[in-house]
Structure formats: C-alpha cells, structure tokens
Point group: D2
Chain length 109, copies 4
Amino acid sequence: MSDILQALQVVLAERKAADPDTSYVASLHAKGLNKILEKVGEETTETILAAKDAELSGSTKEVIAETADLWFHCLVMLSQLDIEHTAVLAELERRFDLSGLVEKANRAK
Amino acid sequence: MSDILQALQVVLAERKAADPDTSYVASLHAKGLNKILEKVGEETTETILAAKDAELSGSTKEVIAETADLWFHCLVMLSQLDIEHTAVLAELERRFDLSGLVEKANRAK
Amino acid sequence: MSDILQALQVVLAERKAADPDTSYVASLHAKGLNKILEKVGEETTETILAAKDAELSGSTKEVIAETADLWFHCLVMLSQLDIEHTAVLAELERRFDLSGLVEKANRAK
Amino acid sequence: MSDILQALQVVLAERKAADPDTSYVASLHAKGLNKILEKVGEETTETILAAKDAELSGSTKEVIAETADLWFHCLVMLSQLDIEHTAVLAELERRFDLSGLVEKANRAK
C-alpha cells in the first residue's frame, strides 16, 4: 500500500514531459507554479467542505476523494519545484522520530 | 521511506487518546474538527507562500517543512473522522492505475 | 464611491431571483452554499498569489481585480445566508470605534 | 453606513505608522506581506467554517464576525501594497455598471 506515493511520483515525472494538450499534469506544469498553487488552494477548500459534510452525514467518500486530489496536486507542486516527495516524508520521520517504528514495520514484512 | 505515513498514523492514533494538556495532537482532537480544518487551511496558505518564495530563492527548505505540516494536519483530520490514510492512497492508486508499478517496486525490494 | 457595496447588494438581490441559465449569480445560488464557499476559497488563493506577484513587480492591477472577485463572492455568500453586508460593516465600525469618524465624514459631504 | 470602509482605511493608515509593540496593525506591517497574507488565508478558512455552521444552526453571528476579520485583513493587505480600497470598489462598480445605481442612492440622501 505504502509505495503508492513513490509510484505516483514516477508517473508524475513521466507526465511532466508529456504533451500539455493530452496530459492534465503536463498542462499544469506548462501553465506554471501559480496555476498549480491555485489548484492546491482549491482542493484544500473542497477537502474542508467535504470534511464538514462528512461530520454530519457520516459518509467519508467525498473527503477521501478530495484529500486524494489535494495530495496529488501537492505532488505536482513538489515536481514543479524539483523536490522529491521523500524529502517531505523524511521531514515527518525526523519530527516524529519514526525511524524505529518504520524499521520495525519493514522487519515485519 | 514509504512506510513513514503508516508509522505516523500509528503515532497519531496513540496520541489521539493522550492528555490534551501534554499532546498537541490530543489537544487538536479535543478542540474538534473545526480547529483541525483551520490548521489544514493555515498550512495550505503557508505552503503556497513558501512555494512562491522557493520559486524566487531556489531554497526548498521552507516548502518541504510547510508541506510536511500540511500532510500532518491532513492525517489528523482523517484520524478525527476515523478514516485510514490508506483509503486516500488506495484512491490515488485506483485513479492512476498504479497497481502494476507498486507491485514491480515491491518485487525489487 | 462608498455606496458601491450597497448598490452591488441591490444588484445581487435581483440576480438571486434570476434564471440560473443566464445569470452567474443565480447559478451560484442554485448550486448552493458549498459552491459559493469554493469560490470564496479560490479567490482568496488568487488574491494571495496576486499580492505576492505585486510585491515583486510593483504592478497592482491583478491584486485589485482578485480582491474585487473575493469581496464579490463574499457578498454572494452573505446573500445566500440572508445576511446584509451592512451587518459586516457595522461589526467593523463597532470594533474600531469608527462612529465619530464616519459622522465627521458625512458632515463634510 | 457605507463610509465605514473609508473611516477604517484612515484608521489603518494611522496605525501603519504606530509602534508594532502596541498596535496589532503595525505589528502585521512590521512582520511583512507573508504574515498579512497568512492572516487573509486563515480568516477565509474561518469564514468558510462559520458559513457551514450558520447553514445548519441558522445563527449568523460567527459568519458576520469572521467576514469582518477577512475584510479587515484584506484592507491591511491593500495598505501594505499602498493600494486604496477605493480601487477595489471602483473595479466592482465598473464590472457591474453600478454608476447609475450609486448616483441614484446619493440623490436620495
């Protein structure tokens, strides 16, 4: 399950070089950083609204879909700035001192 | 590297049950969904500003730190709504048809 | 100059009752509060990006246009919730104790 | 009622030159544009959450207070960029062709 971000980063790197007329990802890169950041902002608002609606309805489908949209556009932003998503994960690992837990999870495989 | 989100989810689940006076995560859950969503919005704005500054300065440290903050607060939001982060990753896998790539990466380990 | 928000509120009230197929404002109301709030979020991100660009370029045209978009969609939100924009202005007057200044400005007309 | 934004702009211009240790507005200007834009983003999220809650509860007090916060921080942003708020109002007047309505309202005074 957990290698999905890695696989997605590979796909995004391929599409960054694709034709903007046929690839949504390529079209975002062609439009530039502002367009990508607009999408990050947009998906955050949609995530917030979906979370508020999930709180009431108990239905989580929308908030899962919107969070996926948000993370996807964050990855496009990182790609635009030539940052590997693993730099973000490493920052989280460092802050929460997760190295022991990650090692233990890997041994359990 | 990629099991960090899983390890972080384990940590967040533990802290959800901790004392709000000593754990930041517990204090967010105690304050409720609105407070958590305010943080998601806040970190998005800080990510956007850091990305704009990174575009100019070439320095990526801030945008990595702010994206980590954003993803962290997204995980707290998912935890508040009793959603596993793997549901978001599965949605990304489905959309981008990543299953072949993920399998290949796992075989290479 | 300062009665523009009042005039705009009159226009927005008329369009709220218009045909969603021909009026953008009516179409927003027909789609409901979430759609209107998505636009508020979107215009905020565009305002933030325009302000960052204005800081560099010295050009203020975009930030003026985006702030106008933001305030406009705030007025549509207030209209959707049956709130007069004067309630927001009264709150600002109360907080900043502006009544003396406003009275003085009115006498000077 | 409608001269409140004008009065507020006068107050904000005075406070821009005040001591950052005693004036919130001066402290925002001293911290710079990013800090001001963070506040604009923050208040937008709080406005969105208050609007969602108002939709359910019928209580409009919070959404009025948060929209006031948002407009206030927009005015601080304009002040930071040396833009008069009347430039934003003039843009709205132009777009919605409000000049006739504004003139009529002024005659009725």
